[in-house]
Symmetry: C2
Subunit: 237 residues, 2 copies
């Protein structure tokens, strides 16, 4: 079995001890600002599958993820689902143009977040242009990921989708300091399928084939990449 993805083990209490600070929007804050940020934020815990917020609700809060993994998704009226992303520690959920959430978010495993009222957050950023620029960087990074995902959804084959997902996910885990041999996959096959615009059967079959072809081994809670360069090649072209 594989450990939960959570580089920080607590961050309850003080922002100055937050282990994901360097990854998060808070990296742009000095000691004084950090104290103020701490004053206006609350740590909240979510159990697996609990909702952080739901599309269509009034967006009263913004969130910075400090531990665990969340799925972000949109639904069609008939229940078809598109996972638009997975949020990891350090990720910021709050770049939005309207006063309502345009997507839903829920905890995949055990999740903790820093939650701030949108109002307090807006006020906080207004006179802190360094912080504002940091938010901008986060938004730009998100936008780039979204554009890459559009290319994947619109123009890649099932095989390329699954390989790209594994390579991209591994890279994101590495960025938050998780460099274990085995790629942890805390999300379900259904989550992966809904992220890649495929069915659960196609994801399963493709992974099984990759295993048969000795590109990887499927293990409990993840996969172990045996041939990263082959995976990278599939993901690239």
């Amino acid at each position: 079995m594989i450990r939960t993805i959570s580089p920080n083990r607590a961050s309850f209490g003080r922002c100055s001890a937050c282990t994901v600070r360097s990854l998060s929007i808070c990296n742009a804050l000095d000691q004084a600002d950090l104290a103020e940020f701490e004053r206006i934020s609350r740590h909240i815990h979510f159990a697996p599958n609990e909702a952080l917020f739901t599309a269509g609700q009034i967006a009263r809060s913004v969130h910075s993820l400090t531990a665990g993994v969340a799925r972000l998704y949109k639904l069609l009226p008939d229940g078809r689902r598109q996972v638009i992303g997975f949020a990891l520690p350090g990720d910021f959920l709050g770049v939005a143009p309207s006063d309502r959430y345009s997507f839903s978010a829920d905890a995949i495993d055990s999740v903790t977040v820093c939650r701030l009222s949108r109002e307090a957050f807006t006020h906080f950023i207004e006179q802190r242009s360094h912080f504002l620029m940091r938010i901008n960087e986060f938004a730009a990074r998100e936008l780039k990921l979204a554009q890459e995902q559009m290319l994947l959804l619109g123009r890649r084959t099932a095989e390329e989708k699954v390989a790209s997902f594994l390579v991209g996910w591994r890279q994101r885990l590495a960025q938050i300091g998780d460099e274990r041999q085995t790629i942890a996959l805390p999300m379900s096959r259904q989550d992966i399928a809904d992220y890649l615009g495929l069915t659960i059967e196609t994801v399963s079959r493709t992974l099984t084939r990759f295993e048969r072809e000795k590109m990887l081994i499927i293990v409990a809670g993840g996969v172990r990449l045996l041939d990263p360069s082959r995976a990278a090649a599939m993901a690239a072209a």
Copy 2:
């Protein structure tokens, strides 16, 4: 034949006379800032199909579109193309996390832009938090559009894709003041197909069927929606 999409007819010369200012990032600027913005920007014209910039190039400039329509796209090594968006007057091309363009942009019809060096732009925004917040709003809006497009690409049928595109495009045209009966489609069927993750044949067949079913009429350079509510229903579900 349908007029070109260009609510502004010139904007050569002075930013203060720019007819798309209220739509653009420059809306956040007062007279003094506008003068400075004008000093560091240049108006550039592009002929149809000319490239504004290309993915992978060093991103020396940011652009604000003032007239015409541009296609934004990404390519796979084997030539498969995904159009990630169409830029209209007022749209800002410059929210990016790296020093290289992550997508290509070229003029569909005759296009004019305000171009600024990235360096000057970065310096300009640094001490103007109102402006920075405006950029933020643009980034958030872009991100929301991208997320909606992911849902479309991953989970909608061909029919829903085409209907959604028409409804969404009409809405965007309305936002820039183009409220004519006929929806102008300056982009080619191939552009539309590459935007929707379909083939040109499927787009053509679907439009033809919509016409047969009296939902719309195909005209030179666009379509005339006869039954907007039916189109909206298809786009929603």
